[in-house]
Amino acid sequence: MRARDIIGIAARNLWHRRRRTALNLIGVAIGSGVLLMTLSVTSGLRSAIHAMIDATEFARSIYVHRSESPMQLDAISPKPPESALVVEGEMDPARRKRIRDALADVWQSENQQKTMAQERKRMEIVSKSKPISAEDMLGIKRIEHVQEVVPGIHQSCRVMLDGAERSSVLHAANLSSGLLRQRLLVGQFLTENDRDGVLMDEFLAYQMGFRSDAQLAELLGKTIEIEAISRADTLRQLLESAELASSAVDLGAFAEYVRTGQQLLADLDRTTLDDSQKRLIRQTLSKRFLRSGDQGSHPNAVRRRLTVRGILRLGTDADLIQMFRYSFSEGSYGLRVVPSTALDLASQQADFRGMFGASVFVDSVRNIDRVTEKLEQDGYRCASMVQMLKHVEKQIDQGKWLLVSVAMLILLVTAIGIGIMLMISVIERTTEFGILKAVGAKDQDVVCLVLCEGAVLGLLGTLLAALVALLCAWLGNDLLLHLLLTRFNMKLDSNLFLFSPTAMLTVTLCSVWICMSASAIPAWRAARLDPIVAMRRV
């Protein structure tokens, strides 16, 4: 038998029972439609997210460092009490929420146990890592496709203004960052040569007493004084907090501890530590073990006067920046100055050894891999959006598989329906199959005829589904984009439905295969009919 005749006969038989055929077609169309939409929307979403991230500087940035162990942050944190979260002053609700979140952060960082653990971990990593020097940065900048290198300077400091004093962190700002620029609440952004300018976050301003929206504007143009807190001071504070944190102080053990410290200081020159390490130990231990240190500022502490140019909004969950907050160590708190000023301040410290890390900005997303490879050759460890994207894609894929299983379930139910319909049809056409066999049809001819009916149903159903899916995509794209913008604050411009030829082919083959499998039992039954018995039925 010719394939054309088989298809023709199958089509004619389906047409003869058009009402039943139509019902089955709807089932197949729904199943393969859901399948097609799932595949298209996931690939559309994926490419849209790529496009979105590619548009930000984060996609083009690589964080480099030389530490041995990866950075880890304690994920489990206790919940702060309501009393610690009271926000004072008149302000718009969105700002109130941001301040409240910041208060929660502060409470959390004041939780001794956690700070200790984190700080110890950080110190451990820092002590093991080889720092990045200003020269290293120049070397990185010379790599092809590298546009800018921002030093990872996060200098602990005391901020003083009109008698108020707060501790904070001073960051080297990425001046080309569009995301940072977006966060400017009032005032102006820094320019490259503005070595005395500083951007302050709204929470620090709040803490310094500039609370209402009107007060915030008054802060612009004011001069603040910065005093860098050395790492030795940080370590000393750490030791003190460690003593306070332990509830039962064993005096004997404490005396032993002091004696050991004194011994260590006396014998320091006999150790194999290098000069800077010795200096660090001496500075850390001397205050505690040799003389009672004053808690105020050092006479030789590094100080600097800076002028407030603008106030930065804190990051909120709605901001894209939150997605990257943990990939890149800088959060949204603190002060921001031009890189040269930050480097100046940090390098004047007695114990300055270099930066822990730096952010490298590449000219195009396409060159990320190439630059990463080069950096790794040069002995740097790299972290970039690539991992982040993989995570997002995994999330999308999980959603995809859920929908694919639903579609498969629909197709399966339809397949059972098709199987039953073809079974009924075979029983109804017993005489016809009997005649065909009597005239000389082989078993496989009859099998082909019935299977072909299933295949035609699958094919037509998919075709119908494709038409409906294209229509839905055309109508639904704007709706979905609007939904993403209003519900998830995700601004995507691209087409969310991508119908790839591979997806089309996969869905078609899938539904044809399922429909044909469903026809297998009726086909086999038709083929095994005894022509004499079949023809006797009139």
């Binding site: 005749d5 003869h16 005489t431 016809e432 000389g440």
Partner: protein, 234 residues
């Protein structure tokens, strides 16, 4: 050439076994025309189904044109039905949803002929049975005689060497039966086939065929021109 020896066909298991055909042995040369007459239930259709390879014998050998029908596989049986035999039945056995022409071209579809070639041959065949102007009618739009002519056209379209007819005039009135019979006689001559013709009607039996057999209780015996006289009537 058809030859059988000690052919048995029985239905059911041992104690309730019904033997529809017992120890049938006969030979038929190519282009001989055999008429089998017998009472209802005597086993005529059973024998014909065996000759058509629609059924397998329980025992015994059955050879048609060097095909050992009792030893063929399912596919070989189908192939034999398509290529070697043409058969007509008492109840015509046309596919109701197909036109006369489409019913006639059925064996050609199974052969894998092109649509144009099928149309040409089927039209010519319908011409031979005098139904050229009924080609596009569905079976229910045709009279009994016309339906049987369509069935005859279908049986002969593949130029079979053996033609089997199981009471082809059984459902027709006398005058129509006579017309169909003359058509058959004419076609047998033209197509030069071996014929096995089953009927229970003596008048019809006496009109055609050059060898006559009597079937009774599953046994077949060759008889003279008058079918053994009283024996048949009894």
């Amino acid at each position: 050439m058809i030859s059988t020896s000690e052919l048995y066909r029985s239905y059911g298991e041992a104690p309730h076994e019904i033997a529809a055909i017992r120890a049938v042995s006969f030979e038929l040369e190519h282009r001989q025309q055999a008429v089998i007459i017998g009472k209802s239930g005597s086993g005529k259709s059973t024998l014909l189904n065996l000759l058509a390879a629609l059924d397998r014998p329980t025992r015994g050998a059955l050879t048609v044109d060097s095909n050992r029908l009792d030893q063929l596989s399912r596919n070989e049986m189908a192939r034999y039905r398509l290529r070697t035999v043409g058969m007509v039945f008492q109840s015509f056995q046309l596919i109701p949803q197909r036109t006369a022409l489409q019913n006639v071209e059925l064996p050609l579809i199974l052969e894998g002929q092109t649509a144009a070639e099928r149309r040409r041959q089927a039209s010519a065949m319908l011409d031979q049975v005098g139904l050229q102007d009924r080609a596009n009618h569905l079976p229910y739009q045709l009279s009994g005689g016309e339906q049987q002519r369509v069935a005859i056209a279908r049986a002969l379209i593949n130029k079979p060497r053996v033609f089997l007819a199981d009471e082809p005039t059984g459902n027709l009135d006398t005058s129509t039966a006579r017309e169909v019979l003359s058509l058959l006689e004419e076609l047998f001559d033209r197509h030069k086939t071996t014929v096995v013709f089953v009927t229970h009607d003596q008048q019809i039996a006496s009109r055609i065929g050059n060898r006559r057999f009597l079937m009774s209780d599953g046994c077949l015996q060759e008889v003279g021109a008058d079918f053994g006289g009283d024996h048949a009537r009894a």
